[in-house]
Structures are given as C-alpha cells and as structure tokens.
C-alpha cells in the first residue's frame, strides 16, 4: 500500500515549490513585454529616457528572471523524483508539451536574454529590439506549452488507456494542443502576468514620485503600464470567465465546490457573492445571491441547471462501480491478453477506470470493495469547499479592483495628472502585493479544486507518487524550504537596493569590490 505521509509530504513540496516558482513567473511574463514596448518607443523616437527605462526595468527583470530560472529547474524534474507513477502513467502525453516548451520556447528566451543584457553595444538598435521581442515571445510561448500540459491535467482529451503498457497514450496530439481548457488558461495566465508587470511598474514609479525623484522617468513608465495594465486586466477577467465556462463543462465538481453549492441549482442558477459555507450541515448560510449569473457563467444559457455537490457524489458512486468492472477486466487482460470477454468488459467501462482506482485507498484489490467503501470513495471526489470558496472570491474581487484601478490610472495619464494626487500614488504602491496574491489564489483554486485527481477522472493523486520513503521526502522538503527562504531574502534585499538606487544609480558604473 502507499504511504499516506509520503503522499502528503510530496503534495506539500510540490505546492510550495510550484507556488514559489510562480512568484517570479508572472513578473517575467509581464515585464518582458513591457520592456519590448518601451524599447520599441526608444527605437522609434530615439529618445534616451526610453532606453534608460528599458535598461533599468530590464535590470530588475534580470534579478527576478534568475530566480524564475532557478526555481523552474525544480519543476522540470520534480515529476520524476516525486511523482514517478504519474510520469509513467501519463508521460506519453504530458511529457511532450514540456519537451516542446524547452525546444521551442525556453531555448529562445534563455539564449536571447543573455544578448538582451550584453548586446547593447554589440548590436544595432533594431537588432537589439528584435532580441528583446524574442525574449518576450519565448517567455509567452513557454507559458503556452506549460498550460497545454496543465490544461491536459484538468481536461485529459486526446488520449486512451493501453492495457499492455499500463498507461495513457496519446490518440490525438491535435486535441491535446487545442484543448479548450488549455487555451482559456493560457490567455488568463499570461494576462495575469501582464497585470503583475504593470502593477510592479506602477508601484515602483509611484514610489519614485512620492519621493519626488525621477519624475520624467516615472511618469513615462506609468503611462505605458496604465494602458498595458488596463487591457490586461480586462483580458484577465474576461478569460477567467471563459475558464469558468470551460471548467464547468468537464469539472462540474470543481465549479460546485467553488460555489459551495450542495444541491443542484435549477436554471438559471444564481451566483453566491458571499456566504458562510457550513461543512457539517452541507449548506451555505447567510448567502447573498445574484440571480442568473452562475447559469450564464457556467452554461452560457438560462435553461441549463448547474449540478450540486450531493448530486455529483451520487453520479460518481455509479462511476466508481463501473470503474471496478474496468479494473477487474484489466487484471484479467494483464494475465491473458487474449481474453475476449475481459476485453469487451474493459472497453465498455474503461472511461471509469480512474474512478475505480479511487478505491485503492481502501482496498488494494479494488474489485472487492463494499458499499461503504464505495460511498467513502465517492465523497473523496469532493475537494476542499471552504478554502476554494473564499480563494475564488478574493481572486475575483482583486481582478475587478485591477480594472477600476487601471481605468482610473489610464484616465489620469490621458489628462497628464499622474503625479497630482498623493493618495493615488500611495494606492498604487499599496497595490503592489495584490497581483501575486490573486495569482497564487488562482493556482490554488485550479489545482486544489482538481483534487482528488492529478489527471481529472483518470489518475488519483495518492496513486501518482513515487515509492520514495517519507524520510527522504521530508529531507528534500526541508532542503527546499531552507534554500528557497535564503534566496527569497537575498532576492528581496537586492530588489529593494536596486529600486532605491533608481535609474541613475543602477545604470552608473557597477560597484567595484570593497573590503568589508
């Protein structure tokens, strides 16, 4: 049987390292495009301040980028180290986007990022601009392929189980690539990155203005960030809504958990803006509901009901029973591949094989599960309602704040009044942590809402782990926490130092070594 402590530690390690990695990714995504825009203006106008902007924001980009690369390494190898059975079970599909990410995107980004920093005196203006755009392109393509991989975990299309190799194998790479979940998630995620870059530039520039320094530099930076931020914030919310629609088609349980919706909502379903979910009684108290909205988000119609948790659990219990038949037939096929009865039974129930595997937590044999175990396994398909409910609402609230904030910033910049209101500059500075909070909450909703699966409906999380002992996982978890904490301190220290130095200090001659 599988060691549940090792599963929990592996999950904790993956969650921590992934969320830590994603502290750096959105800023890289956003700043790379902002740098390319700023440098485009420099090449078109030839004005020195735009070059300084590109170089100064580029220097902060570089500090952040190094951390993104360092922590990304862990992500690339962690599937193998901690999720070996997952790697075997779905590597045939999941590995391909990761490999193409390296080949098509990360190579581009990493090769040209060196030239971005070292090429100023070696390249013509236009060639250097092309370099910067290639870095931005590589960064965004990288996000595309990672989200194709992640989208497949949420909505595993274009694949079928092969009993002889005991794993999922690709049937249509086209379906994997053009998975609607992946496409919606990609635009939602890169837009969130653009918002992060825009807020970062707004906040640091606001700080310059509050200190009464670098006014021309800061106002120009804010003008770019305000318009870029407004477009991105609109895109984040609209595409977030699209994610909600695609999720509701294949991850009904995730939608129901986010809504803390215990019973099926008759059409058109209402959206719960606020409420206190009561887990003991399986109901939501003090709910404030807006009629029709959930029906529109989730089904794009006014006549389709949105199923509730209790109904979905009942459906899943049936799928578990069907999965038991599939598992029993698979066991026979493994012994005798020529068994035609087993082949027919397997083909009829293979779509529920993953649900059968949920029983592995209660009985290794699966086929001998009793009614009580089936019921327990069916309730296992409900993710953590309370944290999902709140995380989602905070994320959405922050998203709407961004639209209002950037719309106002845009209006101020059009009126050339960005530096008039100190309260606005303070607000811009205070907004700095918000994009990171909403991005982390968004990933939490996406990934925790997928539980108990690593691959939705196909492979349960607890079966996905490696056979590594809990002591080893504890050692690696402690190692990552210690090293990452130290690096976080160094990174924040350097960021603050180079922000304080400002463009004139940071772009001066580099400091020579001095004795301490």
């Amino acid at each position: 049987m599988i060691d549940p402590t090792a599963v929990d530690l592996s999950r904790l390690q993956f969650a921590l390292t992934a969320m830590y990695h994603f502290l750096f990714v959105p800023l890289t995504l956003g700043l790379s495009v902002l740098l390319a825009i700023m440098e485009s203006v420099y090449v078109m106008t030839g004005r020195r301040v735009w070059r300084d902007m590109t170089q100064y924001w580029g220097m902060l980009f570089g500090i952040n980028f190094a951390m993104g690369v360092a922590t990304g390494l862990t992500m690339e190898f962690q599937f193998g180290t901690n999720w070996a059975y997952y790697s075997h079970y779905v590597g045939d599909i999941f590995g391909t986007p990761l490999a193409i990410e390296g080949l098509m995107a990360f190579f581009l980004e990493a090769t040209f990022v060196g030239l971005f920093f070292f090429g100023w005196s070696r390249l013509s203006k236009v060639s250097h601009l092309a370099t910067t755009w290639l870095v931005a392109l590589g960064t965004n393509l990288s996000a595309l392929w990672i989200l194709v991989a992640n989208g497949w975990m949420q909505n595993p299309v274009g694949a079928a189980f092969n009993p002889r190799s005991m794993r999922m194998e690709v049937t249509s790479f086209y379906d994997v690539l053009f998975n609607p979940v992946a496409q919606a998630k990609f635009v939602h995620t890169v837009s969130a990155g653009y918002v992060t870059g825009a807020i970062f530039v707004m906040a640091v520039s606001a700080w310059f203005l509050l200190c009464g320094r670098n006014a021309a530099f800061a106002k120009r930076s804010m003008t770019v960030a305000a318009s870029f931020g407004l477009a991105s914030a609109l895109s984040v919310v609209v595409l977030g809504d699209e994610s909600g629609y695609t999720a509701s088609e294949n991850q009904k349980m995730k939608v129901a958990a986010i809504e803390a919706m215990w019973e099926t909502e008759p059409a058109p379903a209402s959206f719960t803006v606020f409420g206190i979910p009561d887990l003991a009684a399986d109901q939501t108290n003090y709910a404030v509901r807006i009629p029709w909205v959930l029906g529109l988000i989730a089904t794009r119609s006014l006549d389709t009901p949105v199923p509730g948790i209790r109904n979905l659990v009942a459906d899943n219990a049936d799928r578990i029973k069907s999965g038991m038949i599939a598992y029993g037939a698979l066991a026979k096929l493994r012994i005798n591949p020529g068994d035609d009865d087993a082949r027919a039974a397997f083909a009829a129930h293979v779509q529920d094989l993953g649900y059968g595997l949920l029983l592995k937590r209660y009985t290794d044999k699966v086929t001998d599960a009793n009614a009580e175990q089936i019921q327990e396994a069916a309730w296992d398909t409900v993710p953590n309602v309370l944290p999902l409910f709140w995380s989602f609402r905070i994320m959405v609230a922050i998203g709407f704040f961004f639209i209002a904030f950037f719309a106002f910033s845009f209006w101020l910049s059009a009126k050339r009044r960005l530096d008039r209101h100190r309260w606005f500059l303070r607000l811009a500075l205070l907004a700095l942590p918000l994009p990171w909070i909403s991005a982390e909450l968004g990933w939490f909703v996406a990934e925790n809402g997928r539980q108990p699966w690593t691959i939705d409906g196909v492979l349960p999380t607890f079966l996905s782990v490696s056979s590594v002992g809990q002591a080893s996982v504890a050692v690696s978890l402690i190692g990552f926490v210690l090293l990452y904490s130290l690096l976080a301190i160094v990174e924040v220290f350097l960021m603050i130092k180079y922000i304080r130095l400002g463009p004139e200090g940071a772009l001066g001659a580099p400091a020579e070594a001095t004795a301490q």
Binding site: A70, L103, T171, S466, V490
Partner: protein, 379 residues
C-alpha cells in the same frame, strides 16, 4: 502516423537521447567546468569577474540543454524519467539544489560590492559546477552496474537502496571521469575566451585535466571489462507496446564489451574520447585555443557516447530484478508520441542551433577586465 516503424523510431530516439546528453555535456558542460575553475584560475575580483562574464551571456541558453534533456526523457522515455529520478532521489536533490545556486550566483554575485559577499557566491558557483559534474558521472556509473529496482504488475516501481548505495567504487570512478572531463572543457573555454593571466592558468589546468581524463577513462574501460554486463535472453520483439516485464535478461561478465566485438565500428566512440582528449592536451600546450576547445568538445562527445554504445539496447539495467531492466525496446513512449516529438525536433533543433550560433558570433572575442568594468550590464 506510420511513416516510420516503431523499431526505427525507438532507435532514432536512442540516438537523439545521445545527441541531447552530448549537447548538454558540451554546451552546459563548459560552464559547469568554468564554475569548478572559478576560485582557482582567477584570484583578484577583477579576474573573477572576467571568468563569470566569459560565460555570463551564454550559460542560461546552455542550461536549456539540461531542461530539454529532462523534458525529452519525460516525453520519449517516460519510464527512464520515472525510475532514474525517483530511484536516485537524494542524489537528484543535491544536483537540483546545486544547480539552483547557479542562476542566482551568476546574476547576484557582482550586484553587491562586499568581498565576503562575492567570495561566498564564488564558492557556491564552484559547488554548482562540481556537484552536478560529479553526481551525473556517478549516475552514469550506476547505470553501468545496474540499479536496484523492480516493477510490480501495475508497473509501479520499487527502489531498494538509498544515497549511500550509489557511492560504490566504480560509479565514483565514473564520477571522477566526469569531473576531469568538464574541468578540461571549462578550462579550454576559458583559454579561448579570456586574456592573460587567467587564460594561461586555465590552459595549464585544462592540460592536466585532459591527461587525468585519459588515465581515468582508460582505468574505467579496463575495469568495466570485468563488470557484469546485461543481455536480453532469447528473441524479443522490438516493436511491441512498452512493457519492461515481458523479457528475460541475463548477466554476463564483460557483457558491456559485446557491442564492440559484434560491431567494431562502434569503437569509434571510445577512440573519439581518447583522441579528442589527446588532441586537446596537445593543442592547449601549443596555445591553439580554438582547436583545443573543439578537440575538448569531441572528447566530451566520445566519452558520453561510449557509455551509451556500451549499454545498447539497455538504458537502465536493474541489478535487483534483471527482467525489470529498461531497454530501448520496452521503455519508450508510444509510436505516435515518438513520431510527434521527432517532427518537433526536426523543425526546431536546426532553428535552435542557428540562433545559438548567431549569438556566439555576436559575443565573439576575449573578455577583458576593462570591458567588464565599463559595462553596467556585466555580472
């Protein structure tokens, strides 16, 4: 999707696996070697900045060979990815922690003026080069002797052993081969990219590293003649679905020499290793730095290829349960995935090589202290 049969695709992906590992060892290998050499060939802060900036603009792209290697093994050889990385768990952890130090080390080292700050990062960059070089070598050594793992019927792998079990004499020797090889390669790069006195020190160190590589590589070759090699017993289809439990495997002393006996042209791999290292040593003596670096790269390619050719068709044999061994014929992904990945590789590898060559051309020439301190982008 049947333009190529499954067996051919598997052989192609075995070759491409070699290309990726050689690409990693040649490209990222020199900047790992530069990390190893940093505290020794450069003494003053100015010299050390020259060394860091000699690889500064290119190491990030080079490291993608490692990332791509990981991704391609995941996609084309998922069982290798699963078994090797989870089996060698703590060793992989050390490699990862060491590699994580490199991006931040290069970037952050010269961002603060303090000598203690910079010296700390210099030694962390040394570890970031030395530990991966050693452990990747030890891992290849363990692949040659076989790793203690077995599969159950659902293909869940169990690995019996820990970190210390990896550190037996032969794998440690292969680890030293790897360290000597990458030290030579890093030194040859610095000889080409820096000015005196750093270049002179790098040249001398690389020369000695090349000599040590030749000796250690010979000892490892002699030693492996006595090792148990693995062989698939009986007929085994090369084009059926991947299932490593479907074959019988026997162990034979000296089995890793069987391919060289059956196909003498494969001796080209070890010959390239010895010949490249000899030529590199000679060229470095004569200060033909360009030739020295090329010869060193050829030596790296030869040494890596030797390990692969010796084991073919095995990729990761199991010492615990030989029939669980992973081979080219039963550890690959499906025919469709191998084909899709081949299409991606055929399109993008030439593109990658083309723009990488462009970037190296832009950055050509030796790095000097004056140049480093004049540019605020320098590391």
């Amino acid at each position: 999707m049947n333009f190529l049969d499954y067996e051919t695709l598997r052989v192609i992906w075995w070759v491409l696996l070699g290309v990726l590992l050689i690409g990693f060892a040649v490209m990222d290998g020199f900047d790992l070697g530069v990390g190893i050499l940093l505290p020794f060939v450069a003494r003053s802060d100015g010299e050390r900045r020259v060394v860091v900036n000699a690889v500064g603009p290119v190491w990030e792209g080079n490291q993608v060979w490692l990332i791509l290697g990981g991704g391609a093994i995941f996609a084309a050889w998922p069982l290798i990815y699963a078994v090797a990385f989870s089996g060698f768990y703590l060793a992989m952890l050390v490699v990862l922690l060491a590699l994580i130090l490199r991006p931040v080390g290069f970037k952050f080292r010269s961002k603060m003026p303090g000598t203690r700050w910079r010296a700390t990062w210099d030694w962390l960059l040394f570890l970031g080069g030395f530990l991966p070089a050693l452990i990747f070598g030890v891992a290849v050594g363990n692949a040659l002797v076989g790793a203690p793992f077995t599969f159950d019927d659902t293909l869940r792998m169990t690995y019996v052993g820990g970190l210390l079990g990896l550190l037996t004499p032969f794998p440690l020797l292969v680890g030293l081969v790897s360290v000597a090889m990458l030290t030579m390669h890093g030194g040859a790069y610095l000889a080409l990219k820096t000015e005196e006195p750093v270049a002179g020190r790098a040249r001398r160190t690389a020369f000695f590293a090349a000599i040590i590589l030749i000796l250690l590589f010979a000892v490892a070759g002699y030693w492996s003649a006595g090792l148990d090699g693995y062989r698939i017993a009986g007929a085994f289809p090369h084009d059926s679905d991947s299932n490593p439990l479907g074959k019988a495997v026997i162990r034979i002393a000296g089995g890793w020499y069987a391919n060289y006996a059956a196909m003498p042209w494969t001796l080209a791999a070890p010959c390239l290793g010895f010949g490249g290292a000899t030529l590199a040593a000679l060229a470095l003596r004569l200060r033909w730095d360009g030739l020295g670096f090329i010869a060193s790269a050829l030596a790296v390619a030869g040494v890596v290829a030797t390990a692969g050719v010796s084991m073919f068709p095995f990729l990761l044999p199991s010492s615990l349960d030989p029939r669980s061994s992973l081979t080219v014929w039963d550890a690959s992904s499906s025919q469709a995935t191998l084909f899709n990945m081949l299409v991606a590789a055929v399109i993008f590898v030439p593109v990658v090589i083309a723009y990488t060559a462009f970037v190296y051309r832009v950055l050509r020439g030796r790095v000097s202290e004056a140049q480093v301190s004049a540019d605020h982008s320098s590391y």
